[in-house]
Symmetry: C2
Subunit: 361 residues, 2 copies
């Protein structure tokens, strides 16, 4: 069995064995058209025989181009972020880029260290996904035509700041939430509650979209329940709050929270969906396997990662960062939001007026 070469084998070794110069060997290996067939074959044979592998550091140093992309994301253990990373890695690899992946774990200092690492390694491009750092801080350290922001979620956005017009990939969360509210209205749900972690801009957007659509449709006022960001691990508090004065349906910030809630509600007297409809957001795999199957908004996370890479590589090639993109999402209707049965006590008019704007007031 062949072993890896003991001593480092460099281009000079290949050239020597092929009986040419380093320059010729270098050109032959990258199929420069003006190298004779004979020498090219000799060089390739020598390289194969010696197990030569070019040194990327030396090449990068010389070429001022690393063919490295970096992605900074929040947490690989989170299914949504992992999918973005998967799309990113796959797209980057298919274009011949190696990828650095670093996680921020909600920690600004970590995020800064990750950026430092990317810059030290002179990554050709960087993707900043779901990070708490303000893009302005990132742009202090990296050229704007070398960064793409994915699903930015920094605090200023919650206060209404606009994300950059170029180099951002987002999903149309507002449309997803609006579609969800419409779906609920059509199915006869009127008293809605939105549950999510306040302070996150992504949450603020979703909540705002829910509010707007509820008003547009003339549904009962939207109630809010603020939950801790890790409430999905133990949603019993949310379950109790809901059980105390149950709405018709609850919109959860994401699927993790919704699935946790489904579980927690089994310890209460509320039955889903008979007493309470539940919807999630993201479309993680577990949402398809839950009971009842979760109605949710499917976010094309893998696509998000791919698009980000394509924007980035395009910008790296010609220095022009493409305009920001907003990818469409889709409502997936499960069994957690069935057509609502009329309440006991006879037919209930509320269900039928739900889609008539203004009829409720």
């Amino acid at each position: 069995m062949r072993r890896p070469p003991e001593r480092r084998v460099v281009l000079a070794d290949v050239a020597r064995l092929a009986d040419t110069s380093e320059a010729t060997a270098s050109r032959a290996l990258k199929h420069d058209p003006r190298i004779g067939e004979a020498t090219r074959a000799a060089v390739h044979a020598a390289a194969a025989k010696l197990g030569y592998v070019p040194n990327a550091a030396a090449r990068s140093l010389r070429a001022q181009r690393t063919h490295i992309l970096g992605i900074l994301l929040d947490d690989l253990a989170d299914p949504v972020h992992a999918k973005v990373a998967a799309g990113f890695e796959e797209a980057a690899a298919s274009q011949g880029f190696a990828v650095f992946i670093m996680t921020g774990l909600h920690d600004q200092a970590r995020e800064q260290r990750a950026l430092t690492a990317f810059v030290e390694h002179r990554a050709d491009g960087i993707i900043v996904a779901s990070c708490v750092s303000d893009p302005a801080d990132v742009l202090d350290r990296v050229r704007a035509d070398r960064v793409v922001f994915v699903q930015p979620d920094y605090p200023a956005l919650a206060d209404g700041a606009e994300p950059p017009a170029r180099g951002v990939v987002r999903t149309d969360d507002s449309a997803g939430v609006a579609a969800t509210v419409r779906h609920l209205a059509e199915r006869g749900y009127r008293r809605l509650t939105y549950a999510g972690p306040s302070g996150w801009s992504s949450n603020a957007w979703r909540r705002a979209a829910a509010t707007a659509t509820v008003e547009e449709l003339g549904l009962g006022p939207l109630r809010f329940v603020d939950v801790p960001v890790d409430a999905w691990r133990d949603p019993s508090g949310l379950a109790l709050t809901l059980a105390d004065d149950p709405p018709d349906a609850v919109l959860c910030y994401d699927d993790k929270l919704a699935l946790g809630l489904l579980d927690a509600l089994r310890s209460t007297s509320l039955v889903v969906p008979d007493d309470l409809a539940v919807v999630g957001f993201d479309g993680i795999p577990a949402a398809r396997q839950s009971w009842p199957r979760l109605t949710t908004v499917e976010v094309p996370s893998v696509e998000v990662g791919r698009h980000a890479v394509e924007m980035l590589i395009s910008s790296v090639r010609d220095g022009r960062m493409p305009a920001s993109e907003v990818l469409p999402v889709s409502l997936v209707i499960g069994d957690s939001t069935p057509q609502r049965a009329p309440r006991t006590g006879g037919p209930d008019a509320r269900a039928t007026v739900a889609t008539l704007p203004g009829a409720g007031s």
Copy 2:
């Protein structure tokens, strides 16, 4: 707001501004003790003012050490693999290593390309996780003291080949399966079925452990159902097979399959756990939120990633690869395997003899 420097700023620029030589500037920046306080301050000030970031490629070239680790894994979108990656990344970052992550996606050619990328970039160490390539092939290209294999799953292992004695991190799947079977026996389940994708060595091990434990406990013979590797996406075939002649309990290769099965069984007349108990393997988050909650074997995936990094870094430092490790797993008892009620028709002796070896024959 400060912008990133337009022209590349290199050490020479810092030296010039600080009015010293490159050598002194270099030493001052890495806090060489024999540099005067005044010059050190001047150099640091100059570096800060210019926004100097050292070039890792140049440093690596010179130092013959990259501080880069590479991990090759199967699929970032898979929760188990993503967790290994998360542990890997976190541990590596905390030790000051940048990490290349590449995915194989069950494709030998992709795996080989990933290895090539790692070698070109002269990664200080490599982790090969859950890959289809034979370790022997990997060792043709990488020094043995620079690779750690995680959960190796190459075909030869299914035929009884032993994994390497050093540089491997695995989990004690056999013990986990054995504990599961014992648990089922104690709870009164006797007729067991094992469902998994044949051809995978990890499946072969789990299945063999189940067989051995079933025999040891004197339970009825273990039945097997071979399923495609992606059966979890559509487990209706498995559900029908089980419904056709239901065992007391079914052991699934992993949680994804078990959760899919729970879902698919809702379209049959079988009720879990009354008619059929179900157990999974891995302990993914969704298993805690399913209904009924899944009894499963919890695998410390994040720990696996961490241990792999620690082994690797240790070996990189002193050239001695630590001995292989087998991490313990733990049985998590959910609601999918309750104490079994006696069958209709009166008390059933089978439940009580389950734990008595030999009593069943």
